[in-house]
C-alpha cells in the first residue's frame, strides 16, 4: 500500500527523459490491490527488461496487464528497465525498482514477470532482479521474496537464466497467467509456507517450466540427461497455445503513452503463427499453427481503437500480414470507417509490417497508401538471402522475378526508396551467395532508374544467429571474423554502386546473442559476470562490448567455439530438448537435412499437413478464413516449388559441407525477420 512517488520524484529531476517513469498513459486501469481481503489478491509486476520506449508498445505485456486486472483475484502493474542514470540514482538513494502505475516498490508484489523478446536483455533481467531487492539466485530466495517468471520468445530456452528465475512460461500467456494466479492465490491463502512446495505446484501447470525441479546431468561438456527431480514433475514441458484468437480481443484499451515510443500507433494483431516455414525464423516455428482473427473483429478493434486513442496510424501486425485471408476487405473497411464522422480519413496511415515480396503485396500497399491521406514511408522487403539456391536452403522461397516484380511495381507506384533485409552467415552460404546480395540490390536500383533518378535501395545486413526449436538449431554459427568478412564482401561490391546503401549489424553482438540463445545452465555464470562487470543494455550498441563476454567465458573456463561455432550432431541432447514448441525433433532434423539438400517445404496452411507435430500434438488446428493461397503469394506454395525445382542445385553432401566450411557466416538478427515489413 506504499507509494514511493515522493522519493522517486526528486530523482526524476536528475535523469534524461523522466516521462519514462511516470505512467499516466491513457488506457491504464486503476490497480486495485485490495480486491481480496487481507491482500489476498495475487499482485503481478509485469516487467520489460529494456527501456520504456521499447517496452511500452509491447502488445504481449499489455494483453496480460488487462487480463490480470480483469480478474477478481489478481492485480497487475508495469515496470521497465530504468536507464543507467536512474539506476545510479536509485542505488545511491536506496530506492528499489518501482511500478510506473502507482510507484509501488517491487516488494509489494508477489510476482515479477519478465517479457523476454530477445536474448541480449538477460543482463538487464539480472539488474532488475537486483534493483527489486531480492536475492539474485533462486536458491537464496525465501517465501516472502518475489517469484521471478519469464515468458516471451526467448523463454523457449530459459536454461541460461535457470539460476535466476523461478519459472519460465512457454508459449502464449493469455490462459496460463490465470492458472499461475490460482496456484499462487491458494498458496498465499494457506500461509505462504514452503517456496519449494509452491514451485512444485507451478511445475504441474502445462506450459510452466520450473528449472529447479530438474537436474541436468553432464558428461564433460555434454549433457547426458535432464531429469525431473520428482515423479509428479513432467519430463517435458509443452508450450501453451490459444486455440481461437477471436476469443481474445486484447488489448481492448491499448495504452497511449505520454512520451514518444518506438511504435507510437495503434496495433491490432490480425493473426498469430506462420507456417511459411522459413528455417531461420524462430518466431515462425514456435508460434504454429496459424490462427486468424475474424475480419469483422479486426475492423471493430481498429475503428474503436482509433477513436479511443486519437491515433491516426494503425499497424496490422502478424508475422506476414499480406497472408491474412481477408486483408483486402479489411483494409477497405478501415478506409471506409475513416470516412465516417469522427474518423481521420485525411491523415490516416495504415502500416502493414512484414509483407511478402511480390507484386500483389505492393499493390495492396499502394492501395492503402493512395486511399488514406497519411504519409508515405519506406517499403521493406526481406529476401533474406542473395541467391535462389540459398533461399531454398532457408526455405524463403522468393524467386528473383518475385522480387523484381515487387520492386518494379513499387517504383511504378511512386516509391523512390526501399529497404532490403538480408541475413548472412546462413548454412551452406558461399561467397557467390553473399555477393548475390549486392547483385540483387544493383538490379533493384536499375529497375528504379527506369522510373526515377532518385531511385535508391538500402540493404540491411544482419549476421545469422541459429535459434533453438528451429531446423537450424544444429548449425555452427559463423565466427565474428567470418561474418565481418562477408559483410566486407558486400561492402566492397556495393561501395561504388550509385543508389545502393549498406547498413549492417555489429557481428560481435551476434556472437553474444548466439551464446545466450543456445546456451545451457552453465552460461548463467557468464551472464552474471557480464552483468557484474557493468554489461547492461547489451542491445544498445554504445553499451555492448564482446570483450566482457569473452572475459567472462574465459573466467568460467568455457569456450565460444563449443557453444557458438560448433555444429551439433543428430544425437546430441540439446539444452532445451525437454522443452517443446510442439515441433518433433525428428521433423526438425529432417527439415535440417532437407535444407542442406537445398529442398524447400510447402506452407501447410494451404497444402496438406506434413505433421511437424504441433497441431496433431496439441489437438489444435489452423484457423484460416480462406483455404486458398492468396493471389500472387507464390512463396511457399506447391506451384512455387515446382518452378524452383527447375533451378539446378548442386550441393556437396551435407556432412562434408558442414565440416569443410567451418567458417561460414553467422548473423545476429534472425529476429530481423519480424521487423521486415512495409509501412505505407
Amino acid at each position: 500500500m506504499s507509494s514511493l512517488w515522493t522519493r522517486v520524484e526528486p530523482l526524476l529531476a536528475r535523469v534524461q527523459k523522466p516521462a519514462r517513469y511516470i505512467g499516466c498513459e491513457d488506457g491504464v486501469t486503476t490497480p486495485r490491490h485490495d480486491k481480496l481481503p487481507g491482500g489476498g489478491a495475487v499482485a503481478w509486476l509485469l516487467a520489460y527488461p529494456d527501456t520504456y520506449e521499447i517496452g511500452l508498445p509491447n502488445q504481449g505485456l499489455q494483453i496480460l496487464y488487462e487480463i490480470l486486472n480483469e480478474r477478481d483475484d489478481a492485480v497487475a502493474e508495469r515496470t521497465y528497465a530504468p536507464w543507467l542514470d536512474l539506476t545510479e540514482q536509485l542505488r545511491s538513494n536506496g530506492v528499489p525498482l518501482f511500478s510506473v502505475d502507482t510507484h509501488r516498490p517491487a516488494s509489494d508484489f508477489d510476482i515479477l514477470a519478465f517479457n523476454l523478446s530477445s536474448e541480449l536483455v538477460y543482463t538487464n533481467v539480472l539488474e532488475m532482479i537486483d534493483l527489486a531487492g531480492i536475492p539474485l539466485h533462486t536458491t537464496e530466495r525465501g517465501p516472502d521474496d518475489l517469484l521471478v517468471i519469464v515468458g516471451g520468445h526467448a523463454a523457449f530456452n530459459p536454461e541460461p537464466l535457470a539460476d535466476f528465475i523461478d519459472a519460465a512460461v512457454l508459449g502464449e500467456g493469455e490462459e496460463v497467467v490465470s492458472d499461475i494466479t490460482a496456484v499462487v492465490r491458494d498458496w498465499k491463502r494457506d500461509g505462504r509456507t514452503s517456496r519449494d512446495g509452491l514451485l512444485r505446484e507451478l511445475s504441474k501447470i502445462p506450459g510452466v517450466y520450473v528449472p529447479s525441479m530438474y537436474e541436468v546431468v553432464y558428461d564433460g561438456d555434454r549433457i547426458v540427461e535432464v531429469r525431473p527431480r520428482f515423479a509428479d514433475v513432467p519430463a517435458t514441458v509443452d508450450k501453451r497455445t490459444v486455440a481461437d484468437l477471436g476469443e481474445w480481443p486484447y488489448p481492448r484499451q491499448q495504452l497511449v503513452p505520454l512520451t514518444e515510443v518506438v511504435h507510437d500507433r495503434l496495433s491490432v494483431e490480425v493473426f498469430r503463427g506462420c507456417t511459411r516455414g522459413c528455417r531461420f525464423c524462430q518466431a515462425g516455428m514456435i508460434t504454429r499453427p496459424v490462427r486468424e482473427r475474424p475480419a469483422e473483429q479486426v475492423r471493430t478493434m481498429i475503428r474503436d481503437g482509433l477513436r479511443r486513442t486519437g491515433y491516426d496510424e494503425v499497424s496490422l501486425t502478424s508475422l506476414s500480414t499480406a497472408d491474412f485471408s481477408d486483408i483486402e476487405p479489411v483494409v477497405k473497411g478501415i478506409l471506409a470507417d475513416a470516412q465516417l464522422p469522427g474518423g481521420c480519413a485525411d491523415t490516416l496511415t495504415i502500416s502493414l509490417p512484414s509483407l511478402r515480396v511480390d507484386a500483389f503485396t505492393v499493390g495492396l500497399a499502394g492501395e492503402v497508401n493512395g486511399a488514406g491521406g497519411g504519409r508515405r514511408s519506406g517499403l521493406t522487403f526481406a529476401p533474406e538471402a542473395g541467391s535462389w539456391r540459398l533461399r531454398q536452403v532457408i526455405n524463403k522461397l522468393i524467386l528473383e522475378e518475385d522480387l523484381y516484380g515487387a520492386v518494379d511495381s513499387a517504383f511504378q507506384q511512386g516509391w523512390t526508396r526501399m529497404k532490403l533485409y538480408f541475413l548472412t552467415g546462413l548454412p551452406t552460404e558461399t561467397d557467390d551467395d553473399t555477393l548475390g546480395i549486392a547483385e540483387l540490390a544493383k538490379n533493384c536500383v536499375a529497375i528504379g532508374k527506369r522510373y526515377t533518378n532518385r531511385a535508391s535501395v538500402t540493404v540491411s545486413l544482419g549476421g545469422y544467429v541459429p535459434k533453438p526449436h528451429t531446423p537450424f538449431q544444429w548449425f555452427g554459427q559463423n565466427t565474428r571474423a567470418e561474418l565481418q568478412r562477408k559483410i566486407d564482401l558486400v561492402r566492397t561490391a556495393t561501395r561504388k554502386v550509385p543508389g545502393v546503401q549498406l547498413k549492417w549489424h555489429d557481428p560481435a553482438a551476434s556472437i553474444a546473442e548466439g551464446l545466450a540463445s543456445r546456451g545451457d545452465r552453465r552460461i548463467g555464470r557468464v551472464i552474471e559476470r557480464v552483468w557484474r562487470d557493468g554489461g547492461v543494455f547489451q542491445e544498445w550498441g554504445e553499451h555492448f562490448s564482446l570483450d566482457r563476454w569473452e572475459r567472462a567465458m574465459a573466467l568460467e573456463g568455457l569456450s565460444l567455439d563449443w557453444y557458438v561455432y560448433r555444429h551439433r550432431d543428430e544425437h546430441e541432447i540439446l539444452p532445451w530438448d525437454h522443452l517443446t514448441a510442439g515441433l518433433h525433433k525428428d521433423f526438425l532434423w529432417g527439415d535440417w537435412q532437407d535444407a542442406l539438400a537445398g529442398s524447400g517445404i510447402e506452407d501447410c496452411r494451404w497444402t496438406p499437413c506434413y505433421d511437424c507435430g504441433v497441431c496433431t500434438g496439441f489437438g489444435i488446428e489452423h484457423v484460416v478464413a480462406s483455404p486458398i493461397a492468396p493471389a500472387g503469394g507464390s512463396q511457399g506454395t506447391g506451384q512455387d516449388l515446382a518452378r524452383g525445382g527447375e533451378v539446378p542445385v548442386t550441393l556437396l553432401p551435407a556432412r562434408r559441407q558442414l565440416v569443410d566450411s567451418p567458417n561460414q557466416s553467422v548473423s545476429p538478427a534472425a529476429a530481423a525477420s519480424a521487423e521486415s515489413g512495409v509501412t505505407v
Binding site: T6, R14, I22, G23, C24, T102, E260, T309, R375
Partner: protein
C-alpha cells in the same frame, strides 16, 4: 475560426516535454473530432501552436495553445469545449478557458513579454526566499550559462522584473516575474542566483502567469479564475489514483 486556450500542467505530467505535449494535443483534438485546420504541404499537420516552452519538470497554471479551425464551432460546443478537451487530455492538463482569437492577434511568442513563477523547495525556508529578494538591490548580475551548447557570461539583472515572497497554503514561496524577451532568464537560472547553496534541481517551479504588454500595462494573455489551490504538490490522491 481561431482559438486560444489556457491550460494547466500539474502533477506527474510535468515530466513530459514540450514535444510530448504537441503529440498529446494532436491526439486529443482527433479524439473529440475537432475540425482543426491542417498545414499545406506533403505531410499536412494540424495547425496547433504552442507558446513559450515550459521547461520539462516545471508545472504551470498558465499554458497557452493556439488552434486554427477549418470551420467554426457552434457557441454551445465552445462552451462545452473546456470540459470536452480536459477529458481527452492526460490527468494534470486541465483546460481552464477557451477564447476566440482575434484574426490580428500576434503569435504567443510575439506577444508574451514576461512570466510569473513560484519557486520553492523542501530545502528552502522563508529566510532563503527573503534573502533571494535582495537580488533586486543589485545593479548588475552576471551569470555564466550555456544555451544551445554555447557558454557565455550574461548580464541578467534587467530580466528580473520583480521578486517577492508570498505565503501560500503550502508555505512561503518566492514569486518572480522574469522577462521573456531577448535571451530571457529561466527560473532554474534564477534559482542558481537566488539559492547558491542548494542544487537548482531541487527547486520546484510553477508558472502562474504569462503577461502581455498593453501600452505599458501588463495583462494576462487570457485572465481566468485559477484553480484552487494554486499551489500544487503531488497529492496522495493523485499518486494512488
Amino acid at each position: 475560426m481561431k482559438l486560444r486556450i489556457r491550460t494547466t500542467k500539474l502533477g506527474k505530467v510535468r515530466f513530459t516535454s514540450h514535444r510530448d505535449l504537441a503529440r498529446m494535443w494532436e491526439r486529443a483534438v482527433r479524439r473529440i473530432g475537432m475540425p482543426v485546420a491542417t498545414s499545406e504541404g506533403f505531410t499536412p499537420r494540424p495547425r496547433i501552436s504552442f507558446g513559450l516552452a515550459l521547461p520539462t519538470g516545471a508545472e504551470s497554471v498558465a499554458e497557452y495553445i493556439d488552434i486554427d479551425l477549418r470551420e467554426p464551432l457552434s457557441d454551445d460546443r465552445i462552451v462545452g469545449l473546456p470540459a470536452e478537451l480536459t477529458a481527452a487530455l492526460p490527468t494534470g492538463i486541465d483546460v481552464l478557458i477557451v477564447a476566440e482569437r482575434d484574426q490580428r492577434a500576434g503569435s504567443l511568442q510575439e506577444v508574451v513579454t514576461s512570466c510569473t513563477w513560484q519557486l520553492w523547495s523542501p530545502q528552502l525556508g522563508s529566510g532563503h526566499h527573503h534573502d533571494a529578494c535582495r537580488l533586486l538591490e543589485a545593479t548588475t548580475l552576471e551569470l555564466d550559462r550555456e544555451r544551445k551548447g554555447k557558454r557565455s557570461t550574461d548580464e541578467v539583472r534587467p530580466m528580473i522584473l520583480d521578486l517577492r515572497v508570498d505565503l501560500t497554503p503550502a508555505g512561503d514561496r518566492l514569486i518572480a516575474e522574469l522577462a521573456t524577451v531577448g535571451r530571457g532568464l529561466r527560473p532554474s537560472e534564477l534559482a542558481r542566483l537566488a539559492y547558491p547553496d542548494i542544487d537548482p534541481l531541487d527547486v520546484r517551479v510553477l508558472r502562474t502567469h504569462q503577461w502581455t504588454d498593453h501600452d505599458g500595462n501588463r495583462r494576462d494573455v487570457l485572465p481566468c479564475e485559477l484553480p484552487q489551490p494554486t499551489v500544487v504538490d503531488a497529492s496522495p490522491v493523485e499518486v494512488l489514483a
